[in-house]
């Protein structure tokens, strides 16, 4: 019913991590209500599908593997029939798959690290969104999420980029995804962050707090959409 697309035309921006974090959180909250979340993996590397097939993945996450630029619109439309939320993890490249997924999106989350290259690619994706808005005659809500940020230090480049984005009136998440071992562990062990062994993962509680902050902010954005 709600289609959330994780986009960045640059690889390594944190799309898969953010996508599986959101999918696992939404799945846990939707499970008592008997609702499902569909996670569409349109990255040829299939990392989010690999995570989903590891043990511990919430059972109400339905995975669509090997989606590509020819099938992605149908995959999204089919998933939208029976899932409360459709989460799309895309390949880090400027491809038609990205454009097609954005054309169906209710919310586009653009991943960006605090680097000039990432910021340039984020702008490229926003330009595509703006052009699609004209073509589709509807507003496509997007927001930039900074990833792999330092828990304490805020580099000057990141400050510069956020200041520039503010000047350009580019929508940004208040929270960021902090570079935490717990997120890597989640990918490595599978399952949800809550189920990770406290002894295996450093600062699990802080990672959970970060996930909650991100998830709640996504919900606020979706809430604003439905109003």
């Amino acid at each position: 019913m709600s289609i959330i697309v994780f986009a960045s035309s640059k690889g390594g921006a944190g799309k898969t991590t953010a996508a599986i974090i959101l999918a696992s959180e939404f799945a846990q909250q939707a499970a008592p209500k008997g609702k499902t979340i569909t996670l569409i993996d349109a990255d040829p590397n299939q990392h989010s599908a690999k995570w989903a097939f590891k043990s511990g993945c919430p059972l109400n996450i339905k995975v669509v593997e090997n989606s590509n630029e020819d099938s992605i619109i149908d995959d999204i439309d089919n998933a939208n029939q029976d899932s409360a939320f459709v989460i799309v993890d895309l390949e880090g490249t400027a491809s038609m798959a990205v454009a097609s997924a954005i054309s169906r999106a209710d919310l586009v989350i653009i991943l960006c690290q605090g680097s000039q290259d990432d910021a340039d690619e984020a702008i490229k994706t926003i330009k595509l969104i703006k052009r699609q808005e004209k073509l589709l005659a509807r507003k496509i809500v997007y927001s930039v999420l900074f990833t792999r940020t330092h828990p304490v230090i805020r580099p000057r480049t990141l400050t510069y980029i956020t200041d520039e984005f503010k000047k350009l009136k580019i929508e940004m998440f208040h929270c960021s995804l902090i570079d935490r071992e717990a997120f890597r562990a989640m990918r490595s062990f599978g399952g949800t962050i809550e189920n990770l062994d406290q002894n295996e993962v450093y600062s699990k509680d802080k990672a959970i707090a970060n996930i909650k902050a991100f998830t709640e902010e996504v919900k606020i954005k979706l809430l604003n959409l439905s109003r």
Binding site: S2, I73, V98, A99, S100, H174, E216, K219, L223
Partner: protein, 120 residues
Amino acid sequence: MNNKRTGFDFEEVIDLDLVERVSNSSKTVSYKDLEQVAADSGFIKRLPQTKKSRRKRSPYTEQLGIKIRPLIKDIFQEIGEKLSVYDHTTFELAILALIEKENDQELIKKYKNATSKSIL
């Protein structure tokens, strides 16, 4: 050290039901238009659109180096030019003419078998 940079109220959890919504209805556009807008923004098709064509291999793979009388080479090339064929074809046609003249059925059969293999 301030670790509240995200500044979010974690306690206030929004009910998922509130944010689950019916999708936006948008203008129906053709895939071609979408493709054009994407291309204008630098987002292009990445999947190969045509099947890779296989490189054609010549069946003429054996080399034959022979010594001939002076001017015979010229005659050989001249007849090839008249027939508008390459040297290897001239040679094959000459062989065929010879074995047909000799009416050697076994060799004719062998020749046809050798030349029937079209370009791989």
